[in-house]
Amino acid sequence: MKVFFRNEEGVSSLIEYIMLSVVCVGFFAILFLNSTQVFLDRPNEVVVEDEFTDIGNMMSTMITDMYVILPSNGQMETEYRIPALAGTGTYHINADAATSDQIIEVISYSTGKKVRVTIGGIASTMPINGSAQSSSTEHMISYDSTR
């Protein structure tokens, strides 16, 4: 037995192995506990916010651009596409708040995240309403002076 205690080479490599494993396992444990939160959820939130702002801006810019050329008697309609998913979730666009708030809302179904984009005071002169779901990608804005 003395030989075993005298020989320290094995002990060193065993302790080393244990210590390495503890650090390694500890690291991966922390990583796995936090990985979804750190590497998926937070960036996803950023991406979703980014994309919602983008989509809201598209709607708002399109309405503004359309507004300045609208015919006083007539119709105008334009098609637009929206992505089916923002980040990993579905969403809907709501313009019904536009009459009072001059705002376009983009709301996520799953998380309830909401981004509102302003539309420069157009809604106060002209009612804007409607909503669109991300489940279909093709949508249309239309205007009719007689309605």
Binding site: T61, D65, P71, M76, Y80
Partner: protein, 150 residues
């Protein structure tokens, strides 16, 4: 474990590299989505033919005004009536515009619906139907009422 002990550093660096590359891959996937963002709003600004539609409208107004002057001159030098001369000049303008707009894939139509004029002054009212269509946008102004003032 023997090999891990013999060449510890290399192995750990390789393992760290693997972990980091996995992280980078997942980030790249999300970054990719973020890159696509911003596309939609610029697309709205770039694709809506705002200036082309406005120009069609403004040019029709301009044509209506010039055509009034010319048809008056024709009427003075020949026995053609102002309204006949006006209609033919207006039609020639809109057919030229149709060819030019067709060059960039836009279908337009400008027709004269009605016009009245005042014989003594060179003024009048013109009703024109303007329509514009491209792959995504459809615009109809019917009628566009144009006041022609000398």
């Amino acid at each position: 474990m023997e090999s891990l002990k013999d060449d510890t550093k290399g192995q750990w660096i390789a393992l760290s590299g693997l972990v980091i590359s996995l992280i980078i891959i997942s980030l790249a996937l999300l970054a990719n989505q973020a890159v696509v963002a911003g596309f939609y709003s610029s697309n709205a600004a770039l694709e809506l033919p705002k200036e082309n539609i406005r120009e069609l409208n403004l040019q029709t107004r301009e044509n209506a005004r010039i055509a009034m002057d010319i048809s008056r001159e024709i009427n003075a030098s020949s026995n053609q009536s102002i309204s006949t001369a006006y209609a033919s000049i207006f039609d020639s303008c809109s057919s030229q515009m149709r060819y030019i707009y067709a060059l960039h894939g836009e279908t337009i139509d400008v027709t004269l619906a009605n016009m009245t004029y005042n014989n003594s002054s060179s003024s009048g009212l013109v009703w024109a139907n303007i329509s514009f269509q491209d792959a995504k946008t459809n615009y109809v102004s019917a009628p566009e009422i144009i006041e022609v003032i000398k």
